[in-house]
């Protein structure tokens, strides 16, 4: 198939022919125009365009699009095998949504319950929020280097890419850009997504410094609000831990992330093991260094959250002071494109400059104008956060589908003639 690298998953999301009513609802949310089929007829997905984001899946009123990668049983088998260290890396947005599958209100913060349940069934925890903080250190340092180079004329050790810098933590967006706007890839931060950093970290630092096990015996499960993460984990680039050890005399070939479960998948796994999240004993995991995270790491799941987290650190690095007000309202909320300016006073040179940033969420509606400027080389911004899903990962394609417990059919039954 066009546009795929070797061994990458294809066709993760498929439409069940028997369930599709041809209502066109999914077309109105699909960011890539991948859905084909006449109004009233069965719809199908053009897999050469699809970025596996799952927006069609969570928005179809008939539940017709399905996620075809189901690894629940494989993960359960690994949990039973005592020679394997099974590591869960949990994305920010999972903790505020998984409760919905167990009768809690949307937004209920279930971190301690989730840790409790995961430990009970045999996972070790490397919170993705920890590696979200790491993403900020890597991506933020990259941004600060560019700013110092372009604004203050300083030399850099290695050549830096052009401004604006684009965020790279959303695999839906990365895949979209690779398919549709390859001209902007040089603007993309080279930082991996927090999940991919977690995989590489687990099989190096985790193996050696924390758990004291052979990296080959570690099985890392990404627990994600996102179906595009299943695609990302299958990319051939991500064997970096194995390559790291290869250079240091330990052979072996294994991926950084072994598999991905969505929030829905994890709920299914827990139910199969008869775990009720509501009844699980809470665990804070205070003495696990890989479960420590800052408030900046956790807001990654919201549109604007990566920007806000990056600004807190970039501001500190440049001005030498912490941002006075941490809740950075201009980048919060559900507007499709949010823009703001931040004045920075460089502590080293005494120079002032203005950092211009933009936040895009919902590629379908909101990307075009912003990205066309970047392609044309006249973007007014220095840093742009882009997330595929409207609202960010809290509304990802792997999240629970009916949080309020009411399928649409209940609400509309009154209108139907039977």
């Amino acid at each position: 198939m066009m546009g795929l690298q070797e061994n990458e998953f294809r066709g993760i999301i498929q439409i069940d022919k028997k369930a599709c009513k041809g209502c066109d609802g999914c077309k109105s949310v699909c960011p890539t125009g991948a859905i084909e089929g006449k109004y009233g007829a069965n719809h199908t997905i053009n897999q050469e365009k699809c970025i596996d984001c799952g927006q069609c899946l969570i928005n179809c009123p008939f539940g017709a699009p399905i996620d075809t990668i189901d690894m629940v049983d494989q993960v359960m088998a690994r949990l039973i095998d005592k020679s394997t260290t099974v590591v869960a890396t949990i994305a920010p947005s999972v903790r505020v949504a998984i409760g919905e599958e167990f009768g809690m209100e949307p937004g209920t913060l279930a971190t301690a319950k989730l840790y409790g349940a995961l430990k009970q069934v045999g996972f070790k925890i490397l919170d993705t929020n920890f590696t979200a903080d790491m993403t900020i250190m890597e991506e933020g340092t990259e941004l600060v280097e560019k700013l110092r180079h372009y604004f203050l004329g300083e030399d850099t050790v290695t050549p830096v890419g052009p401004l604006p810098q684009l965020t790279s933590c959303c695999p839906g967006w990365v895949h979209y850009a690779e398919l549709n706007n390859p001209g902007v890839l040089k603007h993309m931060s080279s930082a991996k997504s927090p999940m991919m950093m977690a995989g590489a970290l687990a099989k190096t630092y985790g193996a050696q410094n924390i758990w004291g096990v052979d990296p080959q015996q570690i099985y890392v499960v990404g627990i994600m609000p996102c179906t595009a993460k299943k695609f990302e984990a299958s990319r051939p680039e991500f064997y970096n831990a194995a390559q790291y050890w290869g250079k240091r005399g330990r052979t072996g070939n294994y991926p950084d992330i072994d598999t991905v479960l969505t929030t829905r998948d994890l709920a299914r796994l827990l139910k199969k093991l008869n775990i009720d999240l509501q009844a699980v004993a809470e665990i804070t995991d205070a003495d696990n260094p890989l479960a420590q995270y800052s408030g900046a790491g956790t807001i990654f799941g919201n549109t604007g959250g990566v920007m806000e987290a990056a600004l807190r650190t970039a501001y500190f690095v440049i001005t030498g002071q912490e941002l006075p007000i941490l809740s950075f309202e201009p980048v919060r909320g559900l507007n499709g494109v949010k823009k703001t300016d931040i004045s920075l006073h460089d502590a080293q040179t005494g120079k002032d400059f203005i950092l211009k940033v933009a936040v895009v969420n919902g590629i379908k509606e909101n990307l075009t104008s912003v990205i066309e400027e970047v392609e044309a080389g006249n973007s007014p911004y220095h840093f742009i956060e882009i997330m595929n899903c409207p609202g960010g990962c809290v509304n990802g394609g792997g999240q629970p589908t009916n949080p309020m417990g009411t399928a649409w059919i209940d609400k509309y039954k009154a209108l139907l003639p039977w």
Binding site: G3, C23, F62, V96, I136, Q243, T298, A407
Partner: protein, 106 residues
């Protein structure tokens, strides 16, 4: 151990409803699109609820900035060195692929 029985919540339409829907044909197709718009509106409500959950997590955190995450700084000190240095370049950074010019790989 206690056993719990769960009902998987379903978004899908039951068999009886499905047959009924077939019966009403085009009106239902139209309604699907209509309901999707409504679902999207409804969805905004719980996107906000989930987003609030994360902002609450942030607000109640003792540490609010990534560079103040001590366990992370320990990791850099013991293992990776500085951000963007050699080990982070090996493990935490990546490259992207121009898929338009990639051609067909099976």
């Amino acid at each position: 151990m206690a056993h719990y029985d769960y009902e998987e919540k379903k978004l899908s339409v039951s068999r009886r409803e499905f047959l009924g829907l077939l019966g009403v044909g085009a009106a239902v197709i139209w309604m699907g699109a209509y309901v999707t718009t409504d679902l999207v509106k409804n969805r905004k409500k719980y996107i906000r609820m989930r987003a609030q959950g994360l902002y609450k997590d942030d607000g109640q955190s003792v540490i609010r900035q990534s560079h103040n995450n001590k366990a992370l700084m320990d990791m850099y000190a013991q293992f990776a060195g500085k951000p963007l240095s050699t080990v982070p370049q090996e493990l935490f950074h990546t490259k992207y692929v121009d898929r338009i010019n990639l051609g067909g790989v099976i």
